[in-house]
């Protein structure tokens, strides 16, 4: 079922990470990425790993969900590992066969890269696991609001994103329904050549197109009825507020960043 796809992979919960201000979370994710790339050796990276694991434990996200977000990057990880393993030719040679040379440096670097990618994905997916898509767009709008000064339509862009996010589940549900309805009339969407499969999509796409126009029109009307006129002077129902947990989060992050730098110096 298409319905089972989680949109934005938000995992509802009530952990410290869930309660944090989404703006702070976005900024701290940035700091986290800097932290990972600042680490020069495996020792610095260990601090990054420690940070990822601690944040993960605080988020109370099931390990299974983490695995799910790692799945799509498995090919990239393998590719990086193999590339580094065979193309770094410096260091002590451990094994040699014709053109292929396996060196200590190669193994070290590829391990370093792989761990860094995994940490990067795990850590940053914590942001999307603990923040609902709507909160995320809200936060992005606020963070980008200085750009309004140079006439970037930040509010409009955020509104478009919010509407798009809002309608993804609706359209998925609609697609599901239309597909079921056409299947009930004997439409065959699974077998046949690519051309036949593409043709079999017509009975789904046309009603879906009609439906999205209908939704757009209805939504425009509903927004107009409620006097929507853009972002100017608009107040919000849900105010973003920073709390003590945000301070703790920032401190925590700062300490670890400092840790990485210190470790770099000590071992570097």
């Amino acid at each position: 079922m298409i319905k089972d796809i989680t949109i934005g992979q938000y995992f509802p919960g009530d952990s410290v990470l869930h309660r944090m201000d989404p703006r702070v979370k976005i900024l701290l994710t940035g700091v986290f990425i800097v932290m990972l790339f600042a680490a020069k050796g495996i020792e610095g990276l260990a601090v990054g790993i420690l940070f990822t694991v601690t944040a993960f434990l605080f988020s109370k996200i099931p390990l299974k969900m983490m695995g799910k977000s790692l799945k799509p990057i498995v090919p990239i990880v393998i590719f990086t590992a193999v590339l580094n393993l065979f193309f770094i030719r410096t260091g002590k040679v451990l094994w040699e066969w014709k053109m292929i040379k396996l060196t200590q440096d190669g193994i070290d670097t590829s391990l370093f890269m792989v761990i860094r990618i995994i940490c990067l994905i795990c850590g940053s997916s914590l942001l999307t696991y603990t923040t609902s898509p709507i909160d995320l767009t809200d936060a992005i709008e606020r963070l980008l609001s200085p750009l309004k000064k140079i006439k970037v339509p930040v509010h409009e862009l955020a509104m478009m994103m919010t509407i798009a996010l809002r309608f993804i589940p609706t359209l998925i549900e609609e697609t599901d329904k239309i597909m079921s309805a056409q299947k009930a009339r004997g439409a065959d969407m699974e077998t046949g050549s690519i051309l036949q499969k593409a043709k079999a999509l017509i009975p789904v796409l046309i009603p879906l197109f009609v439906a999205s126009f209908r939704h757009a029109e209805e939504l425009a009307l509903a927004m107009e009825c409620r006097c929507y006129h853009g972002g100017e002077g608009r107040t919000r129902m849900k105010q973003l507020k920073m709390s003590i947990s945000d301070l703790w989060g920032a401190l925590f992050c700062g300490v670890f960043l400092a840790g990485v730098i210190v470790v770099n110096h000590v071992f570097g």
Binding site: F11, K177, Q182, K183, R185, G186, D188, P203, I206, P207
Partner: protein, 287 residues
């Protein structure tokens, strides 16, 4: 032999996520050939999920469904032919129309069955007549039609496959009283003409009482009962507890009984009720 049979049919949405919900819970059911059954239950009781198992659109999480004695999902390749046997009309079916003309849209199902041109043409003409679509409408684009007409075209699209079992999910919802009457009339007509099994999902007890001979009640994902109309409406107290009701006229007669005018309790249609009243009042019935 029962045309539809389920054994411990269970369906769970979003298993393994925080959104997990049991939609159909161990349903055991047998629907006989030729039955005209009403399906009732409050919103979210699992009616729609249940009926989507009957033509293999949903795969049971556990348990099984038999159509004409054949167990679904044993052979996935057979599912398509099951869908021609069990026709399903979804709620608001007019949103599934897509072809350039009404004629072509109704032909979609029969064409998928692999019938020859002549047979397809015969079926379309027959169904069009049954649902009351004139020849001039047949060459129009379905998007030009009114809501009620679109609905008829969509229902005709499934009826033209001449399924042994026709299942309709709220076929009359969102229509005006006249439109409702017409849609339900043509479903009744179809049942009479073909003698096929028909399942009608509806929230209107009046519509159910007027048309069906059996009622299937779903409550909180479980099958509450499947029985003759009279027997089901007899349990009005239990139905009301579920947030369902018996037809208004039935309530009128049970109130009359409480007031000392006992005219029997099995009054489910206004027609029958009024004839009873007229008899009682010592006049000849209206018709």
């Amino acid at each position: 032999m029962a045309v539809i049979k389920t054994e411990d049919l269970t369906y769970v949405y979003g298993d393994g996520t925080p959104f997990r919900k049991v939609a159909v819970d161990h349903v055991n059911l047998e629907i006989e050939k030729g039955d005209f059954a009403g399906v009732i239950g409050h919103t979210g009781s699992g009616k729609s999920t249940l009926i989507q198992h009957f033509n293999g659109l949903l795969k049971p999480t556990s348990g099984s469904v038999y159509i004409d004695g054949e167990r679904l999902w044993d052979d996935k390749a057979r599912l398509r032919s099951i869908r021609f046997k069990v026709g399903l009309v979804f709620q608001y079916p007019e949103y599934q129309l897509f072809e350039e003309t009404v004629y072509k849209d109704i032909a979609f199902g029969p064409k998928n069955m692999g019938l020859d041109e002549e047979e397809i043409d015969r079926r379309i003409k027959e169904t069009a007549k049954l649902v009351g679509l004139s020849d001039s409408v047949m060459q129009k684009s379905p998007f030009e039609l009114s809501g009620g007409q679109k609905r008829r075209v969509a229902i005709a699209g499934v009826m033209a496959m001449e399924p042994e079992v026709l299942i309709l999910d709220e076929p009359a919802s969102g229509l005006d009283p006249k439109g409702r009457e017409q849609i339900l009339g043509m479903i009744k007509e179809y049942h009479k003409a073909k003698g096929n099994t028909v399942l009608l999902v509806s929230h209107s007890m009046e519509d159910i009482a007027r048309n069906v001979n059996k009622i299937l009640v779903m409550n909180d994902s479980k099958l509450f009962c499947y029985d003759d109309t009279a027997k089901v409406f007899h349990r009005s107290a239990e139905l009301e507890k579920m947030g369902l009701a018996v037809p208004q006229v039935t309530r009128v007669f049970s109130r009359l009984k409480a007031m000392g005018f006992d005219m029997g309790e099995d009054v489910y249609t206004v027609k029958f009720g009024s004839s009873l009243l007229l008899d009682r009042l010592g006049r000849k019935s209206a018709k």
